[in-house]
């Protein structure tokens, strides 16, 4: 990146510094080679992974660790697909037993049609998992009160959605996301709903600490190119936020000096 930009504070979550404010998922890619190229193009150093049964009937190896080097990317296991606090706790423990780290993207789904989070179950699971020493990054609604409670529960990051998972609808509620950022001390990472680069940029312009996305890259016609676009959009949005935008006006103001009388 350009050396002319003034310094930003580092992106630190749970005491660990990350070089990129973009976190990407590893699901839904057409093939593993494209996934790895896209992840590299995104410039991220943290990727999410899911925990699932080994498919014993399949001859093809589908484990992600055959394609992604855990030395190259910090692995953030998720509890995607869990619908109860108990399920999420179980999957969190399984993920930790894989032996990489004790970090977790906690996600408890409350409704199958919208995939919106069950915030009560998320809070319940967060309290248990923080007590067990997990570093919990909690996926939640763009609801300030839930965000504050997740922070109180000891989560290392709160991750409000931009819009429903996989919807690509972009940032639907900038005001609430800003309210969460203003009131929480832990890092705020907007997770889910970003559809294209302008969404990522607009999200970062709200002042949040990072963005997490998967489908926006994986489902693009050219995922590698979109990953590069997202990388730049996140940087641009962050810089614009730090630069402080001009005030909006309802009237035009000329940029050039007036002509002489």
């Amino acid at each position: 990146m350009s050396t002319h930009a003034s310094a930003d504070t580092p992106f630190v979550v749970g005491g660990r510094e990350f070089s990129s404010r973009l976190i990407v998922g590893t699901g839904k890619y057409s093939d593993n080679e494209t996934m790895v190229r896209a992840i590299r193009a995104s410039g991220t150093d943290m990727v999410t992974v899911a925990v699932r049964r080994v498919d014993l009937d399949r001859t093809r190896e589908e484990g992600i660790l055959h394609h992604l080097d855990p030395e190259e990317f910090f692995l953030l296991a998720n509890t995607a697909g869990c619908h109860t606090a108990d399920d999420a706790i179980r999957y969190a423990r399984l993920a930790r037993a894989a032996g990489f780290n004790d970090w977790l993207k906690l996600e408890v789904i409350g409704d199958e049609a919208t995939l919106l989070p069950d915030t009560q179950a998320t809070l319940e699971a967060a309290r248990v998992l923080v007590g067990e020493g997990f570093k919990v990054m909690a996926y939640t609604n763009e609801d300030l009160i839930t965000a504050l409670r997740l922070e109180d529960a000891g989560c290392v990051a709160v991750m409000p959605l931009a819009s429903p998972i996989g919807s690509g609808l972009g940032l639907l509620n900038p005001y609430y996301v800003r309210a969460i950022k203003d009131r929480c001390d832990v890092p705020i990472v907007v997770d889910a709903g970003v559809g294209t680069a302008s969404d990522a940029c607009l999200t970062m312009e709200q002042g949040v600490d990072g963005v997490l996305m998967n489908t926006a890259i994986a489902a693009a016609r050219d995922p590698v190119r979109m990953a590069a676009a997202m990388r730049e959009a996140v940087v641009a949005g962050r810089r614009a936020y730090l630069a402080g935008r001009m005030p909006t006006r309802e009237v035009a103001v000329p940029s050039s000096p007036p002509l002489p009388e």
Binding site: G25, G27, K28, T48, V51, R52, R53, G63, A95
Partner: protein, 70 residues
């Protein structure tokens, strides 16, 4: 007795040699121990116990690993 027991492996019944160890089962399935997590009767097994833990009739075994996800 024909030296076989039936366990439930990832939700499906499967006959395995009586007293087979978890290590031997993973080997039979062609799985690398460092790449999977094993849950037996809802309890996660420590990797260093795979060679010692022997399976019994009716054991429920879950083998999970990391896959792509968001």
């Amino acid at each position: 007795m024909d030296g076989k027991v039936t366990i439930r492996l990832n939700g499906k019944e499967r006959e395995v040699a009586a007293d087979i160890t978890v290590s031997d089962l993973l080997d039979e399935l062609g799985l690398v121990p460092g790449m999977v997590v094993v849950e037996r009767n809802r309890e996660i097994l420590a990797r260093d116990s795979y060679a010692a833990v022997r399976l019994s009739e009716g054991d429920q075994l879950e083998l999970v690993h990391f896959v792509g996800g968001g």
